[in-house]
Symmetry: D2
Amino acid sequence: MGANFRSDNVTGVDPAILQAIADANQGPANAYGGDDCTKGLAAKFADVFETEVTVLPVALGTAANALCLSAVTPPWGAIYAHEKAHVIMDECNAPELYSGGARLIGLPGQHGKFSVDTLATTLKQALRGVHHAKPSAVSLTQLTESGTAYSVDEVKAIGALCRKEGLALHMDGSRLGNAIAGLNCTPAEITWKAGVDLLSFGATKNGAMAAEAIVLFRKDAGLAEALEYRRKRAGHLFSKMRFLSVQLEAYLAGGRWLKNARHANGEAQRLSQGLAAVPGVELLSPVQGNEIFVRMPVPLVEAIEAEGYLLQPWENPEGSRQVIRLVTAFNTDPKAVDGLLAAAAKRRAA
Amino acid sequence: MGANFRSDNVTGVDPAILQAIADANQGPANAYGGDDCTKGLAAKFADVFETEVTVLPVALGTAANALCLSAVTPPWGAIYAHEKAHVIMDECNAPELYSGGARLIGLPGQHGKFSVDTLATTLKQALRGVHHAKPSAVSLTQLTESGTAYSVDEVKAIGALCRKEGLALHMDGSRLGNAIAGLNCTPAEITWKAGVDLLSFGATKNGAMAAEAIVLFRKDAGLAEALEYRRKRAGHLFSKMRFLSVQLEAYLAGGRWLKNARHANGEAQRLSQGLAAVPGVELLSPVQGNEIFVRMPVPLVEAIEAEGYLLQPWENPEGSRQVIRLVTAFNTDPKAVDGLLAAAAKRRAA
Amino acid sequence: MGANFRSDNVTGVDPAILQAIADANQGPANAYGGDDCTKGLAAKFADVFETEVTVLPVALGTAANALCLSAVTPPWGAIYAHEKAHVIMDECNAPELYSGGARLIGLPGQHGKFSVDTLATTLKQALRGVHHAKPSAVSLTQLTESGTAYSVDEVKAIGALCRKEGLALHMDGSRLGNAIAGLNCTPAEITWKAGVDLLSFGATKNGAMAAEAIVLFRKDAGLAEALEYRRKRAGHLFSKMRFLSVQLEAYLAGGRWLKNARHANGEAQRLSQGLAAVPGVELLSPVQGNEIFVRMPVPLVEAIEAEGYLLQPWENPEGSRQVIRLVTAFNTDPKAVDGLLAAAAKRRAA
Amino acid sequence: MGANFRSDNVTGVDPAILQAIADANQGPANAYGGDDCTKGLAAKFADVFETEVTVLPVALGTAANALCLSAVTPPWGAIYAHEKAHVIMDECNAPELYSGGARLIGLPGQHGKFSVDTLATTLKQALRGVHHAKPSAVSLTQLTESGTAYSVDEVKAIGALCRKEGLALHMDGSRLGNAIAGLNCTPAEITWKAGVDLLSFGATKNGAMAAEAIVLFRKDAGLAEALEYRRKRAGHLFSKMRFLSVQLEAYLAGGRWLKNARHANGEAQRLSQGLAAVPGVELLSPVQGNEIFVRMPVPLVEAIEAEGYLLQPWENPEGSRQVIRLVTAFNTDPKAVDGLLAAAAKRRAA
C-alpha cells in the first residue's frame, strides 16, 4: 500500500480539528484574539496544566521557540540546549534574530538528552563577566531529536539547577503530547511542577493544521506583556485568530491530543519492535514517543522504499549502511506499519 | 439585522477557500513547500501578473511587509512611506526587527497618498553620507490607510523616481484586489510595469483564512534566496505549507480574488453614497475600494450601533463628532448595507 | 589670521588633558577599567553631580547615546526626541542597532527644543497596545541642535511628565558643559534633580581627545549591569582604559570643563553680537552656548571665507542667502573672533 | 623588581606613538577622517601590504572583528572559527550584535589552530538549505589563543578552501605583528596572498594607545561602503579621528610595529625557554609570538608572584597545578624576564 514515514509533518489535519475550523466560520468575530475562542483558551490550558497560565497562540514551532527564548534571554545571554536540538540545528538563527543576538551553546549527551551533570559542569566552567555571554536560559526538547523523552526526574533536576543558577527553563514541546503519552505523567508534572518556566506547546505535528501555543507558567505580568509585543512585532499575531485558536481548542478537547499521541506512539512501538527483529537493523535510541532512529543496510532501505514506504535518511550513508528516521503520527494506518514490516521481512527472506 | 463593519478582518473565510483547505487534506504531502500545490503557485501568479515571479507564501501581512522591506534595505537604510502607512503605524517595529534597525520615514499627503513631488523633495533634502540613514526603499500601500488607491500613473511616477535614485519600490498590497477592482487596471499595470520590485500580496482580508504572498518581480536570484532564508529565520515557513498555498490557489482561481473585491467595493459605493446623503455626515476621502472614512455626529453613531451595526471609531471624538471607518468585505450582505442606511435614515428622521 | 569655526570637533586636545594622558603612561595598569583612575571616576562624578552615580567611559558620543537609549527602551519601544536631534538625524540608525529596532519619533519645536506640551499631546495621541511602538523614553539634547539650552524648569516639566507616563528620560549632553555654563545652574539641577535618568556626558567637543561618559543616575543595579554588558558587546570597552579615564578625570579636575565651556560661550557671545550687527545677517536662534546659527548673504560668506575663516553651511543655499553654523571652542582665540568680525565689517564697508 | 606579565594590554603606550599624538595636536583638522593623516593611511597600508587596500581605523579590536564579520556574513549565516577564538569566547556576542544574529561555530584543533581538514569536514557535514545557518565566513586568529601562528601554507590552504566554498576569510590580527615577526614572512604573504579577504589589524597590544584598523583587501566598493556605514552606525567613527590615525601612522612608520613585535617575541623566547627548564613546568604550546602558556605547580606560581611578577591564571587550578599565561610586550624589560626566571630558579632551589 505504501505510506510516508518521513515525518509527522507530512500528515494532513485531524478531521476533528478541520471540522472545528469549519465550524468557526460562522459570522464575524473580533480580530487579533478578541474572539471568544481565543479568550477562552487560557482557561482550557489551565485545566490541562492544573495552574493558571498565559497562552499565546502562534502558527509555527520555530516562532514559538524563538519568542520564548527571546523573552528570557538578554541579547548578550547564552542559552544551553542539546547540541542536536532543533533550536540549534534547524531554525536558521531564528533564536538569534528574535533575541537580538543571544548565543546558543550545544551540550553533548546520549540519545538527544543532556544530563543535569553536563549542564552543571558547563555552567561551572562558563567564564563570567562582561567579556562573555551571560548564562541565561536552558532549553529542553520533548521529544528530543533522538525520539527520547526527558523523564520527570530529569526535568526536575535540571529545573532545580536552573533556579539555583538563575536561569530560565524553556521546553520545546513540539511533540509534547507524544512525550507525555510515553512518560505516562501529567502535563503539570513534566512542565511547571518540574521547573519549566515557559513552553512551546506543539499541536501541528500531532493533528493540527498549523497551531502551537506559547504557554507561560511563570507569573510575571511584564514577561507576559513582552511576549505579546514580541509576537506582534514578529508578524505572528493573526488577524483572524479564531482559526488558530479553534485548532488548539479542538486539540485539547476531550484529551484528543493525548489520544492522538498514544495512537502514534503505539504504532511506533510496533514498528520499532518489528524492525529491531530484522537482521542488520540497529535501533539507535529507545523509542519513547513516535520517532524511531535505526541504522540499516542500504539494500534494505531500498527494498522498503520500493514498496512505497517513504523513509527519511537522517545522515549521510556510512558505507553500505544508512541511518533512517521513521515517524508515526496520529493518523498512521496500522496496516501501513504491517506493510512496511512485511516489506522488510520479504527483503530479509530474499 | 445588524452586521460588523469594523474591518474586513472580522470576516470568516470564503467558503470556496475553506473547501480548498478541506480538499487538500488528502494523504501525506511533502513539508515546507515541497508539495505540489506550493510548487505550482509561481506559475499561477505568473499568469495573473503576466511575468515570471518568485512567490513565497506567508500567513500574515505584517510578516510579508517586514520580510519584503528587510530584503531591499540595509540596516542603516531609510524607507519612505506615507506617515499613516500600516508599516509605520501598526506593525509594532516589525520592519525594524526584520531589517536589523532600518529607519521608516513618514511622508505627508492627502487621502493617505504621498505624491511623487513630496518624495522627490524629501530625497533631495535628505542628508547623505555615513552620518545619515541611507535612502533605500519606498513602500506604497494599496489601498491606502484612507481607503484610496494610487493610480497607475501615480505608481509609475514614483517607480521612475525610485529607479532613478536607486531605491527599491515595495507595494503593501494588503487590499490589492480592492485597489485593482477600483482602478480597473491589470495586476501587471499597477505593479511591475509601474516599477514595483516586490509586493506583499494580501488575501486574508478578502476571503482567505490567513494567507499572503511575497511576490518578487525583480529578477534577482540572490534576493530570492535571501527571502527564503529570511522567511525561515523569522519562523514563517510553514511545515504543512499546502494548507497555506491552497488558500492562495483558490483565491486566484477563476479570478475569485477580483470578484470578491468587486463585491466589497460595490457595497462600499452603495454604503458611502447612502451615508453621504445623510445630513451631518462628511465623507473624508474618496471611496476607491472597500473602506469608507466619514465624520458623523456621535448621536448618529450611537443610533446606528443601537441597531446592531458595529462601526470602528478611527480617532478620538472631536466634541460631538466622531471619525468612523466602515469596511465592506467579500461577504458583505447587501441587506446589511440597506439596514445600516435605514438605521441612519431613521435617526435622521427622528 | 584665519580660523576654523565649523565645529568644536575640529579642535585638538586641551593641553592639560593631553598632559594627563602622557602622565598616565607610567608602567602597567590593569586592563578594561581595573586601573585606579577608572575605579575612582564614579566618586569624582558623584562630587560633580552631588549624588551617587554609575559611570561608564566610552570614546564616542554616538556610542554613549545609543547605549543609553538601548538600556531604557525595549526593541518594540518608541523614543521621543526633537525632530532635529542628533540621535535622529546624525547617528545613522545607531539607536536602532543598539536597541534592537526601537523607533525614534521626532517632535517639532522652535530653536531645537520641544515643549512639554508637545510631548504631552504626542503621548496622549499615541496609539497604545501591541500594534504600536510602546512609548518608552525621551531624549533631550543639551545644547540643542539650534545651540539653545533647555532651562531647568523645562527639563523639570519634561521629567515630571516622563515619570508620570512611565518613560525614561535621557539627556544627550554632548555639549553639557556649554549648556550649564550658559544656564548658570549646577550639574545636579539640570540632570537628576530635574528627572534625568541617564546622561551622555560629553567631553570630546570641549577639550578631550575622545572621551564621553555614560552617567547613570537611576539607582538600578540591573540597569547598571546591563549597561556594562551592552558596552562590551558593542566593542566599546577599552583595554587600556586608563587613557580614556584620565581624560575625564582631567576634564573634571578643578572645574576645567566649565572653565573651557565659559570661554567658548563668551567668545560665542562676542561673535554672535558682532555678527548680528552686520546688516543682512539674521541670528536664527538665541545663543545660549557655543553655537551660532545665522542666515547671511552669500557674498558675505565668501568674503569671510576669503580671509581664512572657515564656516559651516548648515542647509542648502536659499537664493542669495545661506544658513551658517559657527562654533567656538575651549581654545578659540579671541583674536580669531575679532578677525572674523573685521572681515565681516570690511565686506560691509566695501 | 617585579613586572606584569598578565597581558600585553596592561602596558602603556610606545613613547613614539604618544609623541605622534602630541605632535598631532596642532591647530584644527577636519573631523571624521577628513584630516590629512587619515586620508594618507590607505597609501601607507598599501605600502606595507603591497596592494591597494581600504583602511578604516577604529579604536578596539572587538569592534574591528565584529564589523569585519558582519560585513561578510548575512544574519542567517554561520562563521567558523577555532572554538577558543576571541570572537567566540571573549567578545560577549559582539559578532551577533553587529551581524544581526549570525552564528559562530567553534572548530577544535590543537594549539589554538584548526586545520583545513577539520574545516573541510565540517563544511561537508554542514546541513544546507534554509533550515540551517548558511556557511558564510571563516575567521582565523593571528596569534591564536594558544600563542601559536598559522603558517603561510596553513592560511593558504584555508584560503583556497574558502574561495572554493564561497566563504569569506577574515583574519583577527590582534597580534598580527607578533605573528609575522615569528613567521618571518611578509604581511602580504600571510594575508591577501594567502586568501584573506579582510583583516582586523591590531596595534593596541603592541604599542598603540587604542588603535586598530580594518583592512579590506577584497576590491569591492559596495563592501567598502557598507563598512563605512557599519562603523558609523556602531558609534565607532571618531570625530577627532586624527588622534586615532596618527597612532597607526607612527605604528607603521619605519617598521616600528615589527620591531616592537620582534622585541616582545625575543623576550618570550627567553622567558619560555627559561621556564621550560624549571622542573615541574610544562610548556603547553609552541611559543611563536609573545604569549606563553605553561602548566606549573601552584607553589611555584605563588613564589613567583611573591616576588612581584604578576601572572595570569588561565583556567581553574587542577589540583596542585595551574595553567598560566605569560605575555611579553614591546616594552618588556629584559631584566624583568631575568628577574622572573631568577624567582623561579630560587623556588626550585628552595
